[in-house]
């Protein structure tokens, strides 16, 4: 038991080292210190990319835990609730209406729009029959599809299809260099906020009656959860595009192993999301080296495999 965190930390450290070492340009550990060109590659490209992947993976996985506790359903993730598409819609709107707006305004608009989309999803879920567990993810997929279609249509009308393509297509990290990923720290901070409120989300998942009995203001926690999910989605979608499955499968795997005591499990979820995404990103860099396959595509294959395995495993008693 005690060796597990150590092994997991070691695996993550090895992945980070591999990510720093691997790329079209060859840099070796012997050349790591000081050399101008090597340092440039490392500090401007490899390190930012590695950090971007780690932050994205961790934040998306934590956002997955949060949205799963908001809707009390394990089969949703931040990528299947219409949140990313809503962020793209907001960004598209601000691009059309106020093209000169500073970047922080665009990000706030994208986050608010993502929040509206998440709120809509929660409203729809509240109206679904409680026992129809599978309706929740289906509703999320339908909502994502509709909002995504609106984004595509508006972009097509405005001749901005290529522009929105970078958000709605499968995400990838090849374009990440220093100065073009820092918004992901905001996503990381939002995930940190979720850990801060971990007990509240855990109590919320116990059901409205229990949460009320324990004196939890369920509305406040719902709002906080929506902020976390929306900010994470907005930052990720606008920086690197849609990253599927991380927010769906990582919380499920962790819950199977260590349960839903979120105070203890959120750090593990974050590490798991970071590790999974980094492994997939590395795989995408290796398969056709020196060319790349987008991490979103790799995850589409790996993630759906894991998800099917989760679905077909015999359910736990009860």
């Amino acid at each position: 038991m005690t060796a597990r965190p150590l092994v997991a930390g070691l695996v993550l450290a090895l992945l980070v080292l591999a990510s720093l070492g691997l790329g079209a340009a060859r840099i070796g550990p012997d050349a790591a210190a000081g050399e101008g060109w090597t340092a440039l590659v490392l500090m401007e490209s490899r390190l930012p990319r590695t950090l971007a992947v780690l932050l994205t993976g961790a934040a998306l996985a934590v956002a997955g835990v949060v949205i799963q506790s908001l809707v009390r359903n394990r089969f949703v993730g931040p990528d299947t609730a219409g949140t990313g598409e809503s962020a793209a819609l907001g960004l598209l709107a601000v691009t059309l209406l106020a093209p000169g707006a500073p970047i922080w305004v665009k990000m706030v608009v994208a986050s608010l729009s993502a929040m509206a989309g998440t709120a809509l999803f929660l409203q729809i879920v509240r109206r679904l029959p409680v026992r129809e567990v599978m309706l929740v993810p289906i509703a999320g997929l339908v909502l994502s599809g509709i909002i995504g279609a609106v984004v595509t249509w508006v972009a097509w009308q405005a001749d901005l299809l290529q522009f929105v393509g970078t958000w709605l297509m499968s995400g990838e990290f090849s374009g990440v260099i220093a100065g073009r990923y820092e918004l992901l720290w905001v996503a990381g901070a939002a995930a940190g906020l979720a850990w801060f409120a971990a007990d509240r989300f855990a109590i919320l998942s116990l059901g409205d009656e229990v949460a009320t009995g324990l004196g939890l203001s369920t509305r406040g926690v719902m709002r906080l959860g929506m902020v976390v999910v929306s900010v994470v989605s907005a930052m990720v979608v606008t920086t690197v595009g849609m990253i599927p499955f991380v927010g769906l499968v990582v919380p499920n795997i962790v819950a199977r192993i260590m349960g839903d005591n979120l105070r203890a499990s959120i750090p593990v979820v974050a590490a798991g999301g970071a590790g999974l995404l980094l492994a997939c990103d590395l795989l995408g860099r290796i398969v056709r080296h020196p060319y790349e396959i987008p991490v979103g595509t790799i995850l589409g294959v790996v993630g759906s495999g894991i998800f099917l395995w989760l679905l077909y495993r015999p359910p736990a008693h009860g």
Binding site: R72, D199, A202, T212, G213, G215, L216, G318
Partner: protein, 273 residues
């Protein structure tokens, strides 16, 4: 003391409670009894703030429900509704531990840990403490849920049909535990009881409800009588004595198999989930 004044409640167009005035004394095991649809669960849920109060006023030990923050109320009363299935994958001890959350809000101390241990012991859950809720039986999970409300350590405990999934031995054990809590530590328990004999055997104070009104209330001996119960349940009953307490007997009327069910006054009422 819980003071209920002028409380009425509707669900859609159906009137569930009519202008209820009721005072529940402290330090007693109080049973709410009555036929299906009498409004007893609704009344309990209103006191427990699980339903928004539509009309009237409810005070718990002087705290006005409408004006007191919910986290303050969580220190005055613990609640268990009928929604007892918990989908979270928590270990038994973790669930019971959340009962202390109103006190520590994230930083449990020694007193909190002691209260959790005591609650686990009281419900015979110590051997199951590391088991996940989805790996134990429904009755065991319900006991874990009850232990959580016990651990909350409030003066008032409000329970909506807590015997639902429990077998005979555990039902008896729970009622005995509630009685012990009242007599031993001076706490107050209000519970909706479906099977009237559990009220007869254990309750100090009984509130009988029918059609959204309180039809009788007082010491168990005074309420659990043949005329009151026969009228309450629309079926003739006999009240005997057993262990120096009332014991309610009803006849099976095998010769009257064709008689229709009593008229349901609440046919329009939606099912409470």
């Amino acid at each position: 003391m819980i003071r209920i004044t002028g409380v009425s409640h509707r669900i859609g167009s159906a009137a569930i409670l009519h202008d209820i005035d009721l005072t529940l004394p402290r330090g007693k095991l109080i049973a709410l009894i009555g036929p299906n649809g009498a409004g007893k669960s609704t009344l309990l849920r209103l006191v427990a703030r699980l339903e928004p109060l539509q009309q009237g006023r409810i005070e718990v030990d002087g705290l006005d429900l409408a004006a007191t923050p919910t986290e303050r109320l969580a220190l005055a009363m613990a609640v268990m509704g009928q929604q007892t299935h918990i989908a979270s994958r928590l270990r038994v001890a973790e669930l019971v531990g959340f009962g202390r959350w109103p006190h520590h809000r994230g930083r449990p101390g020694a007193a909190d840990r002691a209260a959790v241990e005591a609650a686990l012991e009281a419900f015979g859950l110590a051997p199951l403490r590391h088991r996940f809720l989805d790996e134990i039986s429904g009755g065991q999970a319900q006991r874990a849920h009850l232990a959580m409300t016990f651990a909350q350590g409030t003066d008032w405990l409000l329970l909506d049909e807590p015997l639902n999934n429990l077998d005979m031995a555990h039902s008896r054990a729970l009622m005995a535990r509630l009685a012990d809590l009242v007599r031993g530590s001076g706490r107050s328990v209000v519970t909706v009881v479906h099977e009237v004999n559990y009220a007869a055997a254990w309750a100090d104070h009984v509130v009988a409800m029918k059609n959204g009104r309180v039809v009788a209330q007082g010491p168990a001996e005074a309420v659990l009588t043949e005329p009151v119960l026969s009228a309450l349940y629309d079926t003739p009953v006999e009240v005997a004595r057993h262990d120096d307490r009332p014991l309610v007997l009803h006849h099976h009327w095998h010769d009257q198999l064709g008689t229709p069910f009593p008229e349901a006054p609440d046919a329009a009422r939606p099912t409470v989930h």
